[in-house]
């Protein structure tokens, strides 16, 4: 899975969490809370669903690394040793 695949996966999961917005249009460098009106429950849903889809455990100390689309993709790529697209 490369970084494009990871980005697509995060956007797909976000679409389920914030169905009234289009996560594909978000500024990938901006806090997802501000762009998509996510709260902490949504954030935990994002983390648990992504970790389930990828079959990895995301420790609680790393939650802050998934706050923007870019930082989430970077973090997941590092965890999976993924190649750049």
């Amino acid at each position: 899975m490369n970084t494009d695949d990871l980005r697509a996966l995060v956007i797909e999961v976000l679409s389920g969490i914030a169905p009234e917005t289009d996560p594909a249009l978000v500024d990938p460098t901006v806090d997802l809370r501000d762009e998509l009106d996510l709260d902490s429950m949504d954030e935990l849903n994002l983390i648990t669903r992504v970790s389930e889809r990828l079959g990895i455990d995301i420790p609680e100390r790393d939650y802050g690394k998934l706050r923007t689309l870019d930082s989430a993709v970077t973090y997941l790529a590092n965890r999976l040793g993924a190649s750049a697209a």
Binding site: V30, R33, D34, D37, M41, L44, N45, E60, G64
Partner: protein, 257 residues
């Protein structure tokens, strides 16, 4: 519904519907959030998220201002510390907390120690998988409940944990699984620093009779079961207009880290 205040002069919280902005439009409320609040609002691109922030911050500013009628202008503002925790610019012993969800903002102030508040809609069904944020004991207690009661119980646990994290200054350092919520009746020797019943009984409604019910029998104790430097807090729950659940954490019994 207009703003509803619950509490005493020492500790109080107030709820405000976001759509109504407590009598003023959300745009009008921007006047009440100070320069740093307006700067923060400008960063929030999602209109609903911005409205929630603005109404919550304005509510908090209003409560702080009421407690210091002799102060003016910038002195009355609220700013965020390095951890994102709101505090009055001139704290003078006053502790504050704020929370907002779709439709409702709540803010709390205390002259008698740390305070944390959290609100969720009781209609919310998208709770994260319980194993990700409950302790093993909480999971066991949940499993013992009838299915029909579990979602509401989960909402109670969620708001209690978030309010406690805010009150104990543990946001970002203690996880939701690092906090355990106990029903008072479950544990007589729970390490409480005060009288839970007194916290639950403090409420009254000043301008919207019946809008807030005090969940006296549901007052719980929370503490960090795994941490030798355990903090504890007392949590009382309230329902607002039958649609929202509020948790108020007070009486923090250990110094923050």
């Amino acid at each position: 519904m207009t703003a509803t205040t619950v509490g005493t002069a020492a500790t109080a919280w107030r709820a405000c519907p976001i759509a109504e902005g407590c009598g003023t439009s959300v745009a009008g409320r921007l006047r009440d959030v100070g320069a740093s609040g307006r700067a923060r609002a400008a960063e929030i691109s999602h209109p609903a998220a911005r409205a929630r922030f603005v109404v919550g911050r304005a509510l908090l500013h209003g409560m702080v201002a009421e407690r210091w009628p002799h102060r003016h202008g910038p002195e009355l503002g609220v700013e965020l510390d390095a951890f994102g925790r709101p505090q009055p610019i001139a704290p003078d012993g006053l502790e504050v907390s704020v929370s907002h969800t779709h439709g409702l903002a709540v803010a709390a102030v205390s002259r008698v120690g740390a305070i944390g508040i959290d609100v969720e809609s009781l209609a919310r069904t998208d709770l994260p998988e319980a194993g990700a944020w409950l302790t093993a004991r909480e999971l066991r207690r949940l499993a013992a409940l009838p299915h029909s009661e579990r979602r509401t119980q989960l909402l109670h646990l969620w708001v209690a944990k978030e309010a406690t994290l805010k009150a104990c200054r543990r946001v970002g350092t203690t996880t939701l699984r690092g906090i355990e919520v106990w029903a008072r009746r479950d544990r007589d020797d729970a390490p409480v620093g005060g009288d839970v019943a007194a916290v639950a009984e403090m409420g009254w409604v000043d301008d919207a009779p019946g809008a807030v019910r005090v969940g006296r029998d549901r007052a719980l104790v929370t503490f960090d079961a795994t941490d030798p430097l355990a903090a504890s807090a007392e949590v009382a729950w309230y329902t607002v207009a039958d649609g929202y659940l509020v948790a108020l954490a007070t009486s923090v019994s250990a110094p923050p880290r």
